[in-house]
Symmetry: C2
Subunit: 229 residues, 2 copies
DNA sequence: AGCTCATTCAATAGAATTATTGAATGAAGA
DNA sequence: TCTTCATTCAATAATTCTATTGAATGAGCT
């Protein structure tokens, strides 16, 4: 901040734009974005989810606030952070697309971890909507229960990945299962589909996660009226 | 690269996505993106445009190539770099939007430099199209001649900012002037509009630059057939 | 073969980023 | 007022990023 001397407005603008990109240019902070896209969270809750020291998460969040990615407000003795804007999720999505196109590496990672690379094609949003109308699919939300509670697809049932094994007997074997989680590349849905297929189920991933579904203006349950939290 | 140990696929993906954002997280590299959005360029040409040492620009370009932002191919003794994808421009745009929303600083920069903050509202693309049909506007492209030559709006005349003063007498005073340049925040069009107004013209900026116009699928002159360069 | 010249490489120093530690802050509740 | 506890601050070391310099590469040309 002190060593930076800006000579012209053009430079000043690039510095501003670069600051936003820089704030997104860190794996931990991207993971924070993905979690905050599920709903507002306290520093403590985020640190638990990511398995990182609280002070570390606090600093990342402050860096993100400085760049305009998140805002915060106090609730009792907790401070809740949330994404500043839908534009933040859009920027994350745009960056993901660039990485996918340069996908040699991204695809290698996914395929390297989940050997079944046949028919990993995801279900599109439109496709899912029409199949839901026909009642042909079971939609499972593989996120943890607390995230499910903040909002989920209409009619979806919560099958956290950690409890997939124990809940398997409850799933119908005569219908296709569509799994989704936090976002297009959220690995939990990859793992759930791989596991389900190993057990003989017909299963696919939804191309998006809940935040994208919500951002597309689709209905989310439970429908909360009044102030959105 | 060597000190990085990745334990799980989730982490590996965030690292990939973060690498893309990191490559965009530098003012100089963003300026390179904006210039490359006008058309392919050699290292030398870019270094001249930015006023930076060639070796420095070369290193930035290599970093961008590693992140999948640009590609390069040799032409004689020059190596031409170009944007890898439309998605790169889209990502840049998305980042700009985030910065605009957090606009306290961005807007302050623009307003601080150009005191006329009344009616700096830009002309939208649709608005310009309909007014062009009616023949009500003079469209000027304030970029340097070499960029204009690679492609420009139909019917636009090239008035490089550096030559604005000397070309002023050629401009009609009875029609509104719409100026555009490299992108939505390219400062040359701001400066051109400010100067034109000072001289009594009725002038506004186009909301976008040429790359956005092209990306929207609009006609660009000259229309080149065959291999796009 | 030898020369030219655009680009890349290699080495360096200075600056910024990151994770870690422990202490400080400050709001809530007793 | 005192205690609790979520969060922030401050200081540090390790790593990474950045700009700069001069040498090396390697394709085109004579």
């Amino acid at each position: 901040m002190t060593g930076m001397s800006i000579r012209n407005p053009k430079q000043a603008l690039y510095v501003q734009f670069a600051a936003v990109a820089k704030a997104l240019g860190n794996p931990q902070r991207l993971e924070l974005v993905e979690h905050l896209a599920q709903g507002p969270r306290s520093v403590d809750a985020l640190a638990t989810k990511l398995g990182l020291p609280i002070a570390n998460v606090s600093q990342h969040l402050q860096a993100m606030r400085r760049a305009g990615l998140v805002t915060s407000d106090r609730d009792g003795k907790f401070i809740n952070y949330r994404l500043a804007d839908d534009s933040v999720l859009a920027a994350f999505a745009a960056i993901r697309v660039v990485a996918e196109h340069h996908s040699a590496e991204v695809e290698r990672v996914v395929r390297g971890w989940f050997d079944r690379h046949d028919d990993m094609e995801p279900v599109t949003r439109d496709e899912l909507v029409s199949r839901m109308k026909e009642g042909l699919v079971t939609v499972i939300d593989v996120r943890p229960a607390d995230e499910f509670a903040l909002g989920h697809l209409p009619g979806a049932i919560n099958v956290p990945l950690s409890e997939l094994d124990s809940l398997l007997p409850d799933l119908r074997t005569d219908r296709e299962i569509v799994a989704y989680c936090r976002g297009p590349w959220c690995v939990m849905s990859f793992e759930a589909v791989a596991e389900l297929r190993k057990r003989g189920f017909s299963a696919r991933r939804l191309e998006d996660g809940l935040p994208e579904w919500r951002a597309a203006g689709m209905v989310v349950e439970p429908v909360l009226q009044g102030t959105q939290r």
